[in-house]
Symmetry: C2
Subunit: 224 residues, 2 copies
Amino acid sequence: MPDEDQRPPERARRLPRAVRERQILDAAVRVFSRHGYHAASMDEISDVAGVSKPMIYTYLGSKEDLFGKSIQREATRLLEAIQAGAQPDLPPDMQLWHGLRSFYRFVAEYRESWTVLHRQALTVGGTFAGEVTAMRGRAIELVAALVVSAGTRKGLGEQAEFSGAGLAAALVGAAESLADWALDHPEISDGVLASWLMNLVWLGFNDLVEGQVWKPLPETHSES
Amino acid sequence: MPDEDQRPPERARRLPRAVRERQILDAAVRVFSRHGYHAASMDEISDVAGVSKPMIYTYLGSKEDLFGKSIQREATRLLEAIQAGAQPDLPPDMQLWHGLRSFYRFVAEYRESWTVLHRQALTVGGTFAGEVTAMRGRAIELVAALVVSAGTRKGLGEQAEFSGAGLAAALVGAAESLADWALDHPEISDGVLASWLMNLVWLGFNDLVEGQVWKPLPETHSES
DNA sequence: AGCAAAGGCTACCCATGAGTAGGTAAGCGG
DNA sequence: CCGCTTACCTACTCATGGGTAGCCTTTGCT
C-alpha cells in the first residue's frame, strides 16, 4: 500500500547533519531556558527538536556537552552582536552607548538566549559557570576600561582607577537587570533603555568633576 | 556489650523539635546555595544537618516544602535587615543610603542566604520563583517610590514618573551585581559600596536638573 | 542492480535520588 | 515499673531520566 502515509506533520525526514545539529541546539536552548539545566530532560529536548534521543547523543554528545555547546553558541552570538555595535575607534561614551543599544536589541530578539546565559548557566557548578562568569568578567573589564579611561581623561585619576572595577560591575548588573525588566515592557525601545543607563552612569560619574549632560548625537537614536 | 559505643562525634541525641528544625533549615540553605535546588539531594542535607532523612520529612515536609521554607526564612531575614536600616522618616536619599549599607552588611555576613535568594530561587519554576520575584518586585517598587519622590521634589515631574520604574530596576540590579562582586573583594566596606551606588545613581539622576553632590553625613559613614 | 554509508528509530538498561515503612530507644506521667 | 509519646534510625520502594544496543531505511555511487 504505497502512498498510505498521509505524512501529517511532514516530519522532515533525512536532513543533513548540520541542519539537524542546528535544530537540536535550538531546541536545547529553548528547553534549558525554560527549565534550567537539571530540570530539562533530554526527552523533552529531543521532542522539541523533532528528533529521537539517540540522535542528540550521536551528534552533540552528553547532556553536559549539549549544554556547554548551547551556552557557547549563545554567548558567541551575544558578544558578536555587542561588538558589532560598539566600534572601538569611537570615544568611550559612544562605545558604551552603542554597545548598550546592541545589547538590548539582542535581548529583545533572542529572549531565550539571554535567559539561558543570564539565569541558567550560573546555576550549574563547574565548567560552564566558569566559562560564563569569565565571559561576563571580560565584559566587566571592557566596561571598566571605558569608565577608567573616561574618568582619567576627565581628571579623576586615581579615584577612577580605584573604583572603576566596582562601578563597572554595578553598571553591567544594572544593564542586565534592566534587560530583564524590559522583557516585561516591550514597548520601551532599546534607545530609551540605553539612554537611561547612560544618563545614570555617565552623568553620575562625570559629574563628580563637572556637571555636564550627556546625550546621544541626534542622528543615531530614535526614542519617544 | 554495653558502653561499646565510643560515641565519637557525640551526635547530640534527642533534641527538641524546634532546635532540629533550625539545624535542618541551616543545612538546607547551605546545600541549596551550593548546588541549587535540583542538584541538591535530601541525603546530603540530612547529612549536613546531622540528622536522618525521615526527620526532614516528618518535620519540614517534602523537598519543595523545605526549599520554600528556606527561601522564606532567608528572604524575611534580608528584608528585616534592610528595613532595620532604612527608617521611613528619613529623607529619600538617606533612606536609600542606609538601606544599601544594611543590604551589603547582610550579604557579607550571610553569603549563603544571599546566594540562595539571588541565584537559586529563580531557577525553580513555579511557586518559589514567583515568591522571590514578587519580593524583589516589592523592593524595586520601594526604590522606585524613593526615586520618583526625590525626582518630583527636584522638579523632574513627569519624566521621573515615567522612567522611575526602569531606573529602580536598574538600581536594584546594580546593587545586586555589586553585591556579587563584593563577595570577591571583602576588603571593600559596605559604606564604600553604598556610596559608589549613591554617587552613580543619585548624582546622575538629580543632576538632570542641577549639579549637586550627594554625600553621606560625616557621622554615619567610615570609608577610605 | 547492488551495496555501503549515513540518517534515523524503538526499546531497553540502570544509577540516582525522592519518599516511606516499620522499628528502636529515651524521657515522663502515673 | 509500666505504658505512652516523642525523637530518631535503618533499610527499603519506585519513578525519573541519562545513556545505549541493535535495527531499519533512504540515498548516492558504481
